[in-house]
Each structure stands twice: as C-alpha cells, then as structure tokens.
Amino acid sequence: MSEEQRGFYDRDFEYVWQPPNGQLTANQSLKTQQAINVDADFWCAGWYVPVATGAFEVLITDSDGYQWSNIPMNSAGLSVNGGNPQVLTPSHRFPAGGKIQIDIRDLSGATNNVQINFKGWKRMNPPVAA
C-alpha cells in the first residue's frame, strides 16, 4: 500500500538525550525529559546507551504516565550498541509535542558522561499538494 493510500509515511529518526553538559555529577538524581517534536508522532522501536562512563539506573515514562519498568533499570542490563538496541515489542508511541520522561540516577559516585538514544520512526502526514 502506498504512503498516499496509508495516509501517513514513516521516516527513520532517533532522539538523542544527554544530561546538562553531557554528564551527571556524582550520585546525581535527575528528573528530566526528552521533548518530542510537534511535526510528527514518534514510534520508538528500540533504545540503547552508546555512552556511559559509569553505572546508572533509569526509569522511562511516557506522556500518559506509563512506566516501562516496575523499578528503575540498571544500566548494566541495557544495550550499548546501536546495531543491537534493546528492541521494544511492540514499538511504543510518543505523540507529537509529547515527551519521554527520564528519571536517572548516577550509581558510580563520579562524573558520568551519559547518552541515551531512542530509535524509531516519525510518522508523518503526507505533504498536501499545492
């Protein structure tokens, strides 16, 4: 079925989140969010941690208040490779203009450079012909 017939089209996209200045301070607890652009819903198909200089734990919550786990996840159990991310089955929708709520806590006791990437696609409406 063509994009026109489906009424939308998907484009690969990745939201990249980092703490302020790219690092957590020692034992820092941070409640923050990754804003979703208003141009399209984001369907997250997987996520991974390409950078972390120390251990941390993280709890992800979507715009509806739905948490991805019962307690914060330890970073040792998370995928670190973009070619082999932690796959979400099924993919998880974040509405346009919404947010990915990230509650993160450093466990290393030292400055921790962290980046978390959310891979998926933007679901966009087809452009309207002039």
């Binding site: 040792a76 490779n81 099924p90 998880h92």
Partner: protein, 368 residues
C-alpha cells in the same frame, strides 16, 4: 511471493521447553557415546531449535596439537546423524581461530516424538572447571493438542520490564524461589536478562541460628564486616561503624561472656544506625534465634551490576500454572540476553502469558 507467519498446525499450540542433559557424572578424558535425553510421555512432540553447551563438556579445540579437541554428533528422531562427521566444539574466542560453534541453531527445526529421544555422541570429554555446570540443553517448543492460553478481550500490548533480585548463596543452600506478582495487566514474557553484583553480599548462618545477610549498598566502596558473638562478660549489643571502612557487630553477652542477642534485636539496632544502613542493608531470617559469628573481617563492596560471564546459578522458570518450562534447572548463561553476556540469548519463544494476579516464578539453584 506470499509469506505466512510460522504457526503450529490447526488444533495444536506451542509452549517453550528445554530438555536438559546434566553431564556432571561424565568422566574426563574419554568419549561418551550413545548418550540421550528421553522425551517423556505427556510432554507432547518436541520441536528442537537450539542446542547449547557442548563446549562445557568437551575439550576446547586448540591449534597447538593437531586434531585435538572435543567433538560431538547429534541424531534426529530416526537415529540418523545430523552432521556428516563429528563436529569440533569450542569455547569462546581466546585469541585463536574458533574451530566450531558453542551453540547450534537447528534450521529447519527438528521434530522428536513423545517417548522418543534426542541422541548424541561426545568425543573427548572435559567438563567445565566450575562444578555442577557441565550441562547441554536442547531448546525449542513442545507441541500440545488444544488451544493456547490467550486473552479473551481486545488488547493493545505495551512494553514492560519486571525486575527482581535473588541472593544466591553457596551450593547446598536451599533454592531461592523468586516470585514476581503480575500486577495491573496480563504480562507476556519475551526475554530474560541477568545481572550480577560480585562481592556485594555476606551471609552468616548455621544450625539452630538465624541467617543474617548484609547487602552492600550499590556504589559503596569496599569495607569490612565483622560479627562477634562471644566476648567480655555483660557486653551490650552494639553496631560500631567507621563510615566507608568497617561495620562491627557485637552481640550482648551474659555474665559468662556467652551471646544473648537475637537476630531481631540486632536488626532493630542496625536499622536505627544510620551510618550502617548507608553502607549495607541487613536482612534477617529466623530472627527469634541468635546469630552466628564472622570473626575474620570480610570485605564487601557495592560494586556495580555487571553481565554474567561465569555461571552463578541454574534457573527453573515456571509458567502461569507453575509448570516448569525445562526438564531440569537450566544454567544461567544459557538463558541470559544481557549485552556482554556470553550468548546474549534470553528469548522465550513463543512468549509466555502470565495473566494478571498470577505469579511469575523462577527457582534459583546455586552452582557457586
């Protein structure tokens, strides 16, 4: 070309299952031919898709001695070999060229009927150095007549992860039963991931005594724990803390210097000692009884969780009806999908459905 998703024949459904061969009684240095795992009646036809563990019962291939190394050969339901010749088993890469797989995918899948057997030959046995870990597993599904358990309502799945902690003691300690209540919604188990915290736990126990366990707080640097029971006469119960360095417990004593404190009394005092709680959590079982001693200071640390690289336990996962999905407990490495673990395969295929208000139970058996 039309593609159809894989599904069992009409009138049947698949349940994940693993047949386990424990090779602890194999003799090193010789061949073990005509071994088999019996497919017990009542378990349905078994569809084999994966074999893991030949490298834990066979010599590793080495290029320093020509043609040296353990080999295996497996047989189908008719007794026909599945390889044209025995295949070298291998361990994980050690800097030399790998001679063969340490796990096999069976494609297409191989069917074994009830009351049949999965037969195999082992050449040049050498059991893994860790005791009680010489195990081969045959993983796949058992095909049962009937209908699977499925939700009888319209549903929309959303990703979710349950996490649990198990304190694994030494071999011979009672199995730990991990029970995760399924809350709010039905849950489909897709994958298992395991992490370990090395050196973070001290357990003190004995006949007729309470079991006390100190669990280092994550991130805390190494410190020592010492538990003294006997001592000078008429001592009070005490918990002495040097922050970041040591925790020393002294039981109260009577006029003869014998211990009089119970584990519950220790727990109450310990939890009231903020400096101690900041370093380690104390867990007590059988608290009405006195506790044992640890005269020599033991070093513990709140080391970060890390992937498993060597076996710690065998796991026996149970479905929503508490029926085990393996014939025996399975080595943890073989069912661990954590990145950085040896196999990185923890998938449950097909997924197991746990209805709301049921329990996800895993029996954990130490191999330490």
């Amino acid at each position: 070309m039309k593609v159809y998703p894989y599904q069992p024949p009409d009138g049947y459904y698949d349940q994940p299952f693993t047949w386990v061969f424990d090779g602890d009684d194999l003799t090193d240095g010789i061949d073990a031919l005509n071994r088999f795992v019996y497919i017990q009646g009542g378990y349905g036809t078994f569809i084999l898709r994966r074999i893991v563990g030949f490298d834990r019962v066979l010599q590793t291939w080495t290029n320093t001695v020509a043609l040296a190394g353990g080999k295996f050969r497996t047989y189908d339901r008719f007794g026909t070999p599945m390889q044209s010749a025995p295949v070298y088993a291998d361990g994980f890469p050690t800097g030399i060229a790998s001679a063969g797989p340490s796990e096999l995918g069976i494609a297409p899948e191989e069917e074994y009927p009830e009351t049949g057997k999965i037969a195999f030959d082992l050449y040049s046995v050498l059991k893994a150095t860790e005791p009680n870990t010489a195990q081969i597993i045959f993983q796949g599904v058992r095909r049962m007549k009937g209908k699977p358990r499925v939700p009888n309502y319209n549903f929309r799945p959303k990703t979710f992860m349950y996490q649990q902690v198990a304190l694994v003691g030494l071999t011979g300690t009672p199995d730990i039963i991990v029970r995760q209540p399924i809350q709010d919604y039905d849950f489909e188990l897709y994958e298992v991931r395991l992490l370990q915290q090395v050196g973070g736990v001290v357990t003190i126990q004995g006949n007729g005594l309470a079991t006390i366990t100190f669990i280092a707080v994550l991130g805390v640097a190494g410190f020592t724990i010492q538990v003294l029971t006997t001592g000078a006469p008429n001592l009070p119960l005490s918990v002495t803390v040097v922050p970041g360095v040591s925790i020393v417990v002294q039981s109260a004593t009577d006029g003869a210097g014998n211990p009089t404190s119970s584990a519950n009394e220790l727990l109450a005092l310990y939890n009231a000692t903020a400096a101690a709680v900041a370093m380690a959590t104390l867990v007590v079982e059988g608290g009405a009884f006195p506790f044992g001693d640890q005269v020599l200071p033991l070093l513990v640390s709140g080391a970060a969780y890390q992937p498993l690289t060597t076996p710690i336990a065998k796991l026996w996962i149970r479905d929503a009806d508490r029926v085990a999905i393996a014939s025996k407990p399975v080595l943890d490495l073989y069912m661990d999908g954590t990145p950085g673990s040896p196999y990185q395969v923890g998938a449950i295929v097909p997924p197991l459905l746990y209805p709301k208000d049921h329990l996800l139970q895993i029996d954990v058996q130490s191999v330490l």
